[in-house]
């Protein structure tokens, strides 16, 4: 019964996404627009094109992280406010089936966003990566996207209203940007900031991405590569455990 109910939630979520065309287009188009803004920014700097990739690829991943985190953070809390979450529980759905179904449904959207952003990076910045390198980059960005969806569910479990989600968004997103090694090396940050950086999935994604753009393969850095799925499992477990029928 568990897997069939997970599929039922995922199918329902996908149906709702498909019917809201505007939402679907915005979710995919907004990250592409942001990638274009990043391109415009880098064109205005003196960083040579060859040195840009160590910045632009993690920036692209960060855009995916942001876009996917917001998706679930808002949608699940909307279900709580509309009481459909309570009705799901009363009608026999369990925590892991609801979280699993949501994750499965939104992963389809996250996959589309990850793919589009990666293709946009490749084309706009003339990265010239071969298929193998693109596949490796995709795995990392996709994992980050799925983790971000789980983080969104976790945040939506803490918030009781859509309004309460809003303060969490900058609290998650801004430290991810500042402390994950995108701007300055993590080692040069003070100790307390380094602790925060390790709480963000962007830190682990950035470590792997930096290795990939420098020309090493995924298998050469297994510790950093494994950190992402482990982080994802922990967040997913926390999201499932904290999903409550009531406040």
């Amino acid at each position: 019964m568990g897997p069939s109910r997970i599929r039922a939630v995922a199918r329902r979520v996908l149906k709702q996404i498909r019917r809201d065309r505007r939402f679907m287009i915005l979710v995919v188009a907004a990250p592409l627009l942001l990638v274009f803004f990043v391109k415009t920014l880098f064109d205005a700097t003196s960083i040579p094109a060859a040195g840009q990739e160590r910045f632009v690829v993690p920036f692209g991943a960060y855009i995916v992280h942001f876009a996917t985190f917001i998706l679930t953070a808002i949608v699940l809390v909307r279900e709580r406010v509309a009481q459909t979450l309570e009705r799901m529980f009363v009608n026999g759905y369990r925590q892991f089936e609801i979280v699993g179904g949501y994750l499965l449904g939104y992963t389809a959207l996250a996959t589309a966003v990850s793919t589009m952003v990666l293709v946009a990076l490749q084309l706009l910045f003339n990265l010239g990566y071969d298929l193998e390198r693109l596949a490796e980059l995709f795995i990392v960005i996709w994992l980050l996207a799925v983790i971000s969806l789980s983080m969104g569910i976790l945040v939506s479990n803490v918030a009781q209203t859509e309004g309460q989600v809003i303060p969490f968004i900058p609290l998650v997103i801004i430290p991810s940007f500042l402390f994950s090694g995108l701007m300055v090396p993590v080692d040069s940050l003070p100790g307390w900031a380094q602790v925060i950086s390790r709480v963000s999935p962007m830190y682990y994604a950035n470590q792997v991405l930096q290795g990939l753009v420098a020309g090493t393969s995924l298998s050469s850095n297994p510790g950093a590569v494994l950190a992402l799925p482990i982080y994802g499992i922990v967040v997913l477990g926390a999201a499932t455990f904290t999903l409550r029928e009531h406040s």
Binding site: M1, R5, R12, K15, Q16, T84, M88, V90, N91, G92
Partner: protein, 288 residues
């Protein structure tokens, strides 16, 4: 006990400093329709949410079909159906999609067939492929009822199912509730439409978080007493009787069939009057 679908004993529930239920006792026989009547804020919805295991009581014991609904949610919920006050459905899905989705929580086989069959029961077969947002208020209520019935529960909790429904549909709803009860389903129906209590086998009156009475409509009716006015000569004597059938002979005997008695008026309260006098008008602070 075995014939009781619900057994509630000394249940207390508070929200912070607000006391929602203060020592509720209630027994509901299997296969009956029980009306839960009370003013807004009296504790009807809290009691229903406790009975479906959506809330934990502060103290006291609750058994639904022999099961503690909070401790054994999964088992209890497979046997019960809960219809919330407002039609909680996905607006962007069709009626059939909603019913199928909520049905899949408890059943894995023949969900589509069961969903279509329950839509027939609530007269929504022709609206099956319409989105909820395109339906009228009454149709939404029926769709919500269908989502409650799809897994064929033995026990139903319906929280004000006829609120905002036109009189014709209300009548149809009660006909359906009776058909379900005749098939062995136990129904707990909360309402603040006093005229609906006549459709119930028993009526539980809730006031300020406690059950004031749990009786059949006729028992409630007879507890209302009657007022008798005897016109004699130019005078009128008014007397209140506890029970019309028991006390009227004694009253007439007192007057000894006096020829000066020209007129006797007997005024019995309606069931609605009796219930209203019991629930009182206070406590109208919104539903809990």
């Amino acid at each position: 006990m075995a014939d009781q679908a619900i057994s509630v004993s000394s249940v207390f529930k508070t929200y912070g400093k607000v006391v929602a239920l203060s020592g509720v006792d209630l027994e509901v026989p299997k296969g009956s329709i029980v009306g839960l009547v009370g003013a807004n804020g009296a504790g009807k919805t809290t009691l229903i949410r406790l009975l479906v295991g959506a809330l934990r009581p502060d103290s006291g014991e609750i058994r639904v079909l022999g099961v503690d609904p909070f401790a054994h949610k999964r088992k209890a919920r497979s046997m019960v159906g809960y219809m919330p006050q407002s039609p909680v459905l996905y607006e962007d899905l069709t009626v059939l999609e909603n019913v199928r989705f909520f049905g899949r929580g408890h059943i894995s086989d023949d969900v589509d067939q069961k969903a279509r069959s329950v839509l027939e029961f609530v007269d929504l077969r022709d609206e099956a492929d319409r989105q909820i947002r395109a339906l009228s208020g009454g149709q939404r209520q029926r769709a919500s009822l269908a989502a409650t019935l799809v897994h064929e529960p033995q026990m139903l909790f319906l929280d004000e199912p006829t609120a905002g429904v036109d009189p014709e549909l209300r009548h149809t709803f009660w006909q359906r509730f009776r058909r379900l009860a005749e098939s062995g389903v136990t129904l707990v129906v909360s309402t603040h439409q006093m005229d609906e209590v006549v459709h119930c086998d028993r009526v539980a009156i809730i006031r300020s978080g406690a059950v004031l009475a749990n009786a059949t409509p006729s028992e409630l009716f007879s507890s209302g007493g009657a007022t008798v006015r005897v016109h004699r000569g130019g005078d009128m004597v008014e007397q209140r009787l506890g029970s019309l059938s028991d006390d009227l002979p004694g009253l007439l005997h007192n007057f000894g069939l006096d020829p000066s008695v020209t007129r006797i008026e007997v005024q019995e309260p309606t069931l609605e009057d009796v219930v209203l006098s019991m629930i009182g008008r206070e406590g109208d602070h919104g539903s809990k």
